[in-house]
Symmetry: C2
Subunit: 186 residues, 2 copies
DNA sequence: ACCTGAACACCGTTCAAGT
DNA sequence: ACCTGAACACCGTTCAAGT
């Protein structure tokens, strides 16, 4: 990549992070290009879709989430691991307001730049769920897709001003439905 | 209202119902006006906001939902009533794709034309929840707002192509968390 | 009293023209 | 090899001008 290109690339990312943090995942791409002092076509060259831009912004958090799953698999009891990771996954979807809608759409669209990321989250969750199920700690009439759906639904609640304050409590309600022994009190 | 005005009003509603059924609650208002052979200003005169239009479209279903709550209060056991009504409420939010997002936003906005409707849904649900709680059948660490949030979250799942197929099952999972005795098998 | 549609300020996306 | 921004086809919202 040419020197000016890499400079543009990272500058767009910096500005995009600020704008999307402030305005949500549906922020105007035109606005981002303007604030980055870059032609609109330059933004589209580096990030052909809104999903591609968001995927790059979420990359590091996504890697942390995957790593966390690995750690929890050896460091925590199956039930604790499942709950702790699920909580982190909800927080992940909440990193940028409105991101969870794009991720949900990406699950149904193999061509989306976010599809792989979402599949990774599902796989990581599915493994922890299976582990808890094998230990007889979690209900067996659920799979990874169900877990992901519940995580996404809680992420969506977090995005709604009218529901955000209840999302934590409802996480516990749903968690108690997944674990046979219920959730441990904090 | 003048004769041409009433005619326009009902014609806009008819067309809007078709378009929004086909394209979702975020359908283009311009497109609706065009297809109704009506000036854009005429649509705005009758329905000053998208919420006002949607509220009118949802009116009859909303009344049915309120009526259902009243009926269930006398005809069914507290737990059955709560679950049956909640199921109907999820279906209500799903009447038009994308409507649940507008309703969620309306809960936090007193000025929204949908605010009153959403409050009615919450109140109806809260009564059925209280009744089940008083009968010792439902967990007591939830209120009407929590119930509404869960209903909205399930409605949102229904709207996502990637999650819609699991929404029914997840309704049962969540329902089993609300009722002490769990859900009765179908 | 009601309707119309142009006007304004925005979008996302593409692509010919420049360096 | 990369960047630019005009061009196109859309939005939502408002409001002067018409009947």
């Amino acid at each position: 990549m040419r020197a000016d290109a890499t400079k543009n690339y990272s500058h767009i990312l910096t500005v995009a992070r600020e704008v999307i943090t402030a305005q949500g995942a549906d922020a105007s791409l035109r606005d981002i290009a303007r604030k980055a002092d870059v032609g609109l076509g330059t933004l589209y060259r580096h990030f052909p879709t809104r999903e591609a831009l968001l995927e790059t912004l979420l990359r590091s958090s996504l890697d942390e989430l995957t790593q966390l799953a690995d750690e929890l698999k050896t460091s925590s009891a199956p039930d604790d691991a499942l709950i702790a990771w699920s909580r982190a996954a909800v927080a992940f979807t909440h990193h940028y307001r409105g991101a969870v809608d794009l991720m949900a759409a990406a699950m149904a669209d193999e061509a989306s730049a976010l599809h792989a990321s979402c599949s990774l989250v599902r796989s990581a969750g599915a493994q922890l769920l299976l582990r808890a199920q094998a230990a007889g700690m979690a209900r067996t009439d659920m799979d990874g897709a169900d877990l992901l759906a519940l995580i996404a639904a809680l992420g969506w609640l977090n995005d709604q001003p009218s529901f955000a304050s209840q999302a934590d409590h409802l996480f516990n309600v749903i968690g108690s439905a997944i674990l046979y022994a219920g959730l441990k009190p904090a």
